[in-house]
Symmetry: C2
Subunit: 480 residues, 2 copies
């Protein structure tokens, strides 16, 4: 892997954020809202809280979420799914108010929100809140970025709206997870719309009652079913959720009314979309405990279940200067789920390669990374990778946890190398470092943005709180 200049200014890392998020708050936590006051309590918090009340570690994690979003949005922008959506909606789009990351088209802010949402989710490489499997940024960043191009928004206000939007999505998601997800909902879309409304509503400076209505209008629009997985419909879901939240906030700004209790009422959101409702997840500790601080970022462009194997192979490669020729065979011990989900021995194309633990181990050794290009048609058919893949074996071992793996590599010279992984890089316990996150983002932007512009964009993202205009991010994300 080539060395990269590391632009990150703060290096506290997200482990600090994790600790901050779980540390008992210095102020006593707010009491849970009385029944019937859930939507209003959340709205009151959203309207009243100021950027300086948000702990620095939370702001830092939101900055990392933003940076990761920029990478996956630019990286996903050439995808066919994005092009088809653009072709479908362009004839009906309004004035060219907002850009599309990685592309030159400009659309009205509502249309741009859809396209940016699709591109940032299409690689399945966006941020993940592991407790709920919500990928929050793909619904929430697009409307905020579009608004930042349409109205004057400082970087500080932009990041604050992002914190509040993500926090809202994760909290309403926790109130209904896992029943809601188990039933069939793509929670990224359903919770995402409500988070998008919260963030957009904050940028629009809604009153408390307008925010109640915005949350209600967004909660009325539950987009996304799990049956969409495997089709373009999947990345449509967060894109549409972002639009739903933005529309909700724009309507509420004009005093278009909704229920005062949409989240908690008997015929309201949580009771209708889930058999579980825990409203304390929404209202308890608002302002002192932030789920936003627990966001994670995938280092590898495939299902999280193979991440320990890739991590192990990359570590052995780096420690011993491994190449495919030096290797006689690779033996993996994995959790049984790994073979169940990713047991494909001879993947024929890029998509199939994401479901092959054999390919993942081989490509990590041969190419020293596991980004989108390592799960492409090209990589799946590369003779060197195919050859090594044939020398990989994997055995299911119930003693191995999902977060663990053991890789044993036997070299041609007879030596044996062994690597155990307890928690793969990118997990909550072993978060991606700022440096690794930045490398991931830079890699995603290669061949789409000029190198100097990509560096300038990464620097602007790290510095978002100091930007006079958050629109700078949108401008820099468009190829010069």
């Amino acid at each position: 892997m080539q060395r990269r200049h590391f632009i990150g200014l703060a290096a506290t890392g997200s482990l600090a954020a994790l600790q901050a998020a779980e540390r008992p708050p210095s102020a006593p936590a707010a009491q849970p809202a009385p029944p019937g006051e859930v939507t209003r309590t959340l709205a009151r918090f959203l309207v009243a809280t100021t950027a300086d009340q948000v702990p620095p570690a939370v702001r830092k994690e939101a900055t990392r979420t933003l940076l990761n979003w920029i990478g996956v949005a630019v990286g996903g922008s050439p995808h066919e799914t994005v092009g088809l959506a653009l072709a479908a909606i362009a004839p009906f789009s309004g004035p060219p108010q907002a850009g599309i990351a990685g592309r030159r088209e400009r659309l009205d802010i509502v249309s741009a929100t859809l396209v940016n949402g699709i591109s940032s989710h299409v690689l399945d490489f966006d941020d993940t809140h592991l407790k709920t499997i919500i990928h929050a940024s793909s619904s929430i960043v697009p409307p905020l970025l579009a608004l930042a191009e349409y109205r004057t928004v400082s970087g500080r206000d932009f990041l604050h709206a992002l914190v509040l939007g993500v926090e809202t999505a994760l909290r309403v998601g926790k109130a209904i997870y896992p029943d809601h997800y188990d039933a069939g909902w793509h929670i990224t879309g359903t919770a995402g719309a409500i988070g998008a409304a919260a963030g957009a509503g904050k940028l629009l400076d809604l009153s408390e009652t307008q925010m109640v209505w915005a949350l209600g209008l967004a909660a009325s629009q539950s987009v996304g079913l799990r049956e969409s997985f495997g089709s373009m419909n999947k990345s449509f879901n967060p894109g549409r959720a972002g639009q739903n939240g933005l529309m909700a906030a724009l309507l509420a700004e004009k005093n278009f009314t909704s229920s005062e209790q949409m989240l908690e009422a008997k015929r309201g959101w949580a009771h209708t979309v889930s058999t579980k409702q825990d409203f304390r997840e929404i209202t308890a500790g608002l302002g002192s405990r932030y789920e936003t601080a627990l966001n994670t970022y995938k280092p590898f462009a495939c299902g999280i279940v193979i991440h320990p194997v890739i991590d192990a192979c990359l570590r052995l490669r780096a420690a011993h200067g491994l190449t495919a020729e030096k290797i006689s065979d690779i033996a993996l011990r994995v959790h049984p789920l790994v073979l169940e989900l990713t047991g494909k021995k001879t993947p024929q194309d890029g998509l199939q390669s994401k479901f092959s633990v054999y390919h993942a181990a081989a490509v990590a050794i041969v190419e020293g990374r596991a980004g989108p290009r390592q799960f492409s048609d090209r990589a799946a058919r590369d003779p060197g990778i195919v050859a090594l893949r044939g020398r990989v074996t994997a055995s299911a071992d119930p003693a191995i946890k999902e977060s663990q793996t053991e890789a044993v590599i036997t070299l041609a010279d007879g030596r044996t190398l062994r690597q155990f992984i307890e928690h793969a890089v990118g997990s909550t316990e072993n978060p991606l470092s700022d440096q690794a996150l930045e490398a991931k983002v830079a890699d995603l932007m290669q061949e789409i943005l000029p190198a100097a512009q990509a560096r300038e964009l990464i620097a602007a993202a790290w510095n978002v709180v100091a930007l006079p205009h958050a629109a700078t991010l949108a401008r820099l994300a468009v190829p010069a």
Copy 2:
């Protein structure tokens, strides 16, 4: 009530349609689709069926649905809810491709769909499928009318797409009703989006697989919770559902993919949004049995529970030339639910008057009708109506069914008049006549469209199958 010229050409009435719909089909009904083939079976029907295969009685009922829609859309167009929605979305709208019934603004077809959907539902006076409480037209006519302005669509094709869109919404609704509605969903929006996709997809001439995707993308967007009732959010739901269906069809036209089994899959639509799934309701008898033929239209602009009382009072008024001065008192025997829902004795404004059986009886006698103007602030405060309202009594009688009432009017000269209602006008058993429907529509358009233009529009709606361009309807619905 003033006499109106009756423009209707065919006078078969919807009772004939009802009989046709329940008559055993001459051809054997299609077998229910095998599991896993529900979405595709529906799509195949939608793509393959031609206008001449639809029974005339079904086309007739769809024509009545269209006429009623035109009336409520024009009549609802000055409502504050419509103005606020327009103000919120206008800055982001695209080219002026489509009009808004009753108004002069022009928007892109997707934006126009939202506004026309809101205006046609805001009076709570649109069509009702009584088995499912779906108000189908408010989601389905707007996208079809917008497409008719954007592409060349004959009146015949337009009406056929409307038949198929309504049929789809009602069938998917029946598959999950009542559990889905009981859980809290505003079924008009959830089923409406799927119907809108079917109708729009037919006008866009989608292939079978594209239609499968359009249904899947629409089913991914479930808009509307019952908690919205009483706020502007309620009429937003069908408006947004129409947009969701139109977007789904436009995306599918570009080969934007979805699941092949979104309606029936385990993590698909019906299983996620309902505890009941009866897929035979979707696939059995397609092409031989039409739910569309069972659509009904409210004669009175208030909750259906007071319709028997209004019907009784109007009949007595007409039969005996009643005026308020001649009446000593009015005694009503009603189903207990009537007093529970509409027991407000002294309503202070128009909205409250819809929940007063006393006001309903009085205004029917004084003004001889019960349209939107009879449930206005003006009517609620009219001294003559207020005075008569004070002489109305109502007693709950468990022996009276919901569809029934008995009104006993004692005259100042001591005589007693009695009227029993078995099924109020507008029910499935006693459908609104073509003449009464036309009078309702003409009344709704008064003061919004010039009288001559309104007559021309009504004639065009009755004649829709013969129109060279369905866009004529949209043009005539805009004030000259």
